[in-house]
């Protein structure tokens, strides 16, 4: 039944979050916006992990542990990304990523 919630629903939700994150990365001009997209992607992956942990008892420990790791690493990564963005802001006086087109051509 569609309404009976199973693994697929969680996976579909995770896919939705992932796609939203990807599109957010693709559409935001603000560097912080891109960072937000990254957060969304990571969250999608975490949902997947936990869902699999829940619906396959073999993985119940692994899934959660991995989800924990993902959260921690996401934090670390966010810190770095923010440092980069701040550096970018210091150098260019703007957070518009469209100005970082030195790699053009």
């Amino acid at each position: 039944m569609i309404f009976a919630v199973g693994l697929d629903h969680f996976l579909l939700l995770g896919a939705l979050l992932f796609v939203c994150g990807a599109v957010c990365m693709a559409t935001k001009r603000n560097a912080i916006g891109i960072l937000m997209g990254v957060e969304l992607v990571l969250n999608a992956a975490t949902i997947n992990f936990v869902a699999f942990a829940r619906y396959n008892p073999v993985f119940q420990v692994e899934g959660q542990i991995f989800a924990l790791f993902v959260i921690v690493l996401a934090a670390a990564e966010a810190a770095i990304a923010l440092a980069i963005v701040l550096n970018f802001y210091n150098n260019h006086m703007t957070v518009d990523v469209d100005t970082a087109e030195e790699l053009k051509g």
């Binding site: 990365m25 990523v97 970082a100 087109e101 790699l103």
Partner: protein
């Protein structure tokens, strides 16, 4: 030092080697000293250079080179004399020893025939011992059947082995062979050379000055002024003496050829001594080139001999070409002769091809290198590749060609017809040079070689030699009659006398020809030196038309020259008489046997008269009558003692060097007997008869009266006086004629000249030989040279220009190709890449967002692929 003395004591042949090497040493010393002087002179600004320069004499060098050279040649003369004395002494004892051994052997053999049995064994041993001793002695008895000292060493080895024996391979050797002839030649050459060296010290004294003016060379500023070349003269003289002595010393044709060329070079250097004179350098070139033409023939002869006989050594050649005197069974009929026959190549066995002796055969039998134990002189089988103990054959015409080739060399060297054109022009050199080289020695080398190589010449070659000599002597004598330059008269006289010698050798007068060589050297050198003294005394005036009446001014010169003139004319008791008589006798004997060659006697007879005439003319024109040129007469003077002393010595020699005992007997000459000792038995085989069993007559193996009807030697021997008296008569008439014309002035030579203008012009133009050669040889050569120059300049250079033009054209096209097509392709590729890159560059937008999009797309793609594969895996 003690070793040297021992060397000379045990091997006295080394006296002559030392005599040969001493002038070489002098040459080297003077050369080195001159080189050091030149080096010092070039660097005389530096102290070391100045020291060396002054050490070797500085600007005024003095006469030291002359003393070194004269000392060397005098030392060589001493060595030769000692060697000659020892040789003659040893030779006579040797002959008697051999005779004794042979008689003893004969006795033992007759004893053996009559002995009883128990004595036979001991007798046999004794016979063997005596035979061994005799063999040892006879080993020194060369194929010439005369005593000789020999020695040689291998100088150059050319492998692989040829016809020569297999263990040595082919070698070029240097060695010496001394027999009576060469010992005599040594003494004669060194003696005359010493006297000429002494003469030159005085004659060339004007070369001592640091600056010499040459009146015959005109430059823009008057006469040429140059440095004096005193030392150079003696250096060249020393080199010449060395080469001439080496020629006489040689025991093989290779060494002769070496010296041949070397004397040619020395002659060139000395004729062209006054290098700045055009006439002198032309004459030097002419001499050398004419000699070279002869040398071409010489080389041909050498090649033929080398190919067919494999050796250059005289003894080996003669032993192979001429039949030996005996074989294992005794004496042979054709002893000493060249054996002709025919070889039949179809009739071949293991022993070789069949050989049949035949008087007119096309092949010549070559005797083995080392005769085997059991030996037949005339065999019936010859092989193509003979071992050392086998016979072989060579074509007869090749032997004739070899002989004629070597003779051609002698024609060039001895200025015979048709190569006589260089000798008169060679008078451009200083007079001592003319005396030494072109009178006494170098021109005699040709005659000497013909004499040495006599066994090589076949009958046909000998006839050619005789006729060449005959023509030469007549032509030269007629030209000498009209010459006015005193040296030219003597030059033509030399040519004529050399013709005499050649003629003598050609008709079988081996002894006569070489005897004349000896005597001629003395009186011709004397005549040249006297003319040099006259020229010196008249301040380098050579034209007899400007001389006359010089007798009171130059008595010694005049008297010496008179001795020479009488000698050459053939007046009895003077040296020339003995030798000329011998030649005429032999010619007479020859025409008794071969009457078709009558001219070979008439020509020398008539020319004897002509010789006397022009010689007397020369003397009378120079020394008697009224002086024709006052200026010359006033300044004429006698030469210093350094120049007159040699004249006196030579004059004495030209009177008495050929005397024998009794003096008035033309055949008793001691000199002639000495030359006779060296005679090869081939001479007698051709013109006499050889039978060495009947050997007791005079100790010689020559006359066997009871055998053999036709024998040139025999007729010559018996008719000696007839020939001599005929000649003497003609000479007397000529001398009287000359006296009438030039002394008593009864007949006028100018009238004779007017009456025979064309004849006179023909003779004055030297029988137009120079013009003939100019037309036939010189001008065509120049024309060919012009053609070749045109060819070289236009065709060959044109070809080169064409090639270069083609190359430039090709490189131009290549450049176009390279630029347009090759570069175009490369550029095209580059442009394509550039455009493609420019277009693809647009993918790199530089926007982060688009990169993310690409990532996402790529991720989607990867997911699809992975899903597909997973499904496949799952399904499978």
């Amino acid at each position: 030092m003690m070793n040297l003395v021992e060397l000379f004591g045990e091997h006295p042949g080394w006296y002559f080697v030392a005599a040969t090497l001493t002038p070489l040493l002098s040459f080297v010393l003077i050369l080195l000293a001159s080189a050091m002087w030149c080096a010092g002179r070039a660097y005389r600004a530096t102290p070391a250079g100045a020291a060396i320069f002054n050490l070797f004499g500085g600007e005024e060098r003095g006469r030291i080179p002359a003393f070194v050279a004269t000392g060397a040649i005098a030392l060589a003369f001493v060595f030769s004399l000692i060697g000659f004395i020892r040789f003659t002494a040893q030779q006579s004892t040797f002959e008697t020893q051999i005779n004794q051994l042979q008689t003893k052997l004969h006795q033992l053999q007759t004893q053996k025939k009559t002995a009883t049995e128990k004595w036979t064994h001991e007798l046999e041993e004794e016979i063997e011992a005596e035979e061994a001793k005799l063999e040892n002695k006879e080993k020194m008895w060369t194929s010439a059947r005369s005593y000789a000292w020999q020695g040689n060493f291998d100088w150059l080895r050319i492998r692989p082995a040829g016809i020569r024996d297999a263990d040595n391979g082919t070698v070029l050797q240097l060695g010496f062979k001394i027999d009576s002839l060469s010992a005599l030649m040594f003494v004669m050459v060194t003696f005359i050379a010493t006297l000429i060296h002494v003469f030159s010290i005085g004659y060339m004294s004007e070369e001592l000055q640091p600056e010499v003016e040459d009146h015959q060379v005109h430059t823009a500023h008057g006469h040429l002024v140059r440095r004096g070349r005193f030392g150079r003269f003696f250096m060249f003289l020393s080199l010449f003496c060395f080469s001439m002595l080496n020629l006489v010393l040689a025991d093989n044709l290779f060494q002769v050829f070496l010296s041949w060329e070397l004397v040619g070079i020395c002659s060139y250097l000395l004729i062209g001594f006054y290098t700045e004179r055009q006439s002198a350098s032309n004459a030097a070139n002419k001499a050398f080139i004419t000699n070279r033409i002869g040398d071409a023939g010489f080389i041909l002869g050498l090649l033929i001999l080398w190919t067919n006989l494999g050796t250059f050594n005289f003894d080996e050649i003669f032993q192979r070409v001429r039949a030996p005197l005996s074989d294992t069974h005794g004496s042979v009929d054709v002893a000493g002769r060249i054996v002709r026959g025919n070889v039949d190549p179809n009739n071949t066995t293991k022993a070789g091809q069949r050989f049949t002796p035949d008087e007119d055969g096309s092949q010549v039998l070559l005797f083995p290198h080392r005769p085997p134990e059991h030996y037949h002189a005339i065999v019936s089988r010859v092989s193509d590749n003979p071992k050392p103990d086998q016979h072989s054959a060579m074509p007869y015409w090749l032997l004739v060609a070899a002989g004629l080739g070597i003779f051609l060399g002698c024609v060039g060297k001895s200025a015979q017809f048709p190569l006589q054109v260089w000798l008169p022009d060679a008078m451009e050199g200083p007079t001592p040079v003319s005396a030494l080289i072109h009178a006494a020695t170098m021109v005699a080398a040709g005659v000497y070689l013909v004499g040495r190589c006599y066994p090589l010449f076949t009958y046909d070659a000998l006839v050619v030699i005789a006729y060449t000599g005959g023509i030469t002597l007549f032509v030269a004598a007629t030209i000498a009659v009209v010459m006015t330059d005193i040296k030219k008269v003597l030059a033509y006289s030399t040519v004529s006398q050399l013709g005499y010698m050649m003629l003598a050798l050609g008709v079988g007068g081996w002894v006569a020809g070489l005897f004349h060589l000896m005597t001629h050297a003395f009186f011709k050198a004397l005549l040249f030196l006297c003319s040099g003294s006259v020229i010196y005394g008249c301040h380098h005036e050579q034209d007899m038309l400007k001389m006359g009446g010089l007798f009171p001014k130059m008595k010694i010169t005049a008297l010496s020259m008179l001795a020479g003139v009488l000698a050459i004319a053939g007046i009895p008791l003077f040296t020339g008489w003995y030798s000329k008589d011998a030649i005429l006798a032999q010619a007479l004997g020859f025409i008794y046997v071969h009457p078709q060659h009558l001219f070979l006697f008439l020509l020398p007879l008539v020319t004897a008269g002509i010789t006397a005439f022009y010689m007397a003319r020369m003397w009378l024109m120079t020394f008697t009558g009224k002086p024709r040129d006052e200026h010359v007469y006033e300044h004429a003077h006698e030469s210093p003692w350094t120049m007159t002393a040699p004249l006196i010595i030579l004059a004495v020699c030209s009177v008495c060097v050929a005397w024998g005992w009794p003096i008035y007997d033309a055949e008793a000459s001691w000199l002639e007997h000495n030359v006779h000792h060296a005679q090869h038995h081939a001479v007698l085989a051709d013109f006499g008869h050889v039978d060495f069993t009947e050997s007791k007559d005079h100790g010689e193996y020559w006359v066997v009266a009871k055998k053999q009807a036709q024998n040139e030697r025999l007729y010559a021997f018996h008719n000696h006086h007839l020939a001599g008296n005929l000649a003497l008569g003609l000479v007397a008439i000529s001398l009287a004629f000359a006296g009438l014309i030039y002394w008593k002035r009864v007949l006028d030579p100018a009238e004779a000249k007017e009456q025979f203008p064309s004849l006179h012009a023909f003779l004055m133009d030297k029988w137009r030989f120079d013009r003939l050669y100019s037309v036939i040889l010189v001008r065509p050569a120049l024309v060919v040279g012009h053609w070749l120059a045109w060819f070289d300049l236009h065709v060959i250079d044109g070809l080169i220009h064409l090639l270069s033009w083609l190359t430039v054209l090709a490189s131009k096209w290549d450049g176009i190709f390279d630029n347009a097509i090759v570069d175009g392709l490369v550029n095209l590729v580059g442009n394509v890449m550039y455009d493609a890159g420019a277009r693809l560059r647009n993918v790199q937008t530089g926007y982060l967002r688009s990169y993310v999009l690409f990532l996402v797309l790529a991720a989607a793609g990867i997911f699809m692929v992975l899903a597909y594969f997973v499904r496949m895996a799952m399904a499978g």
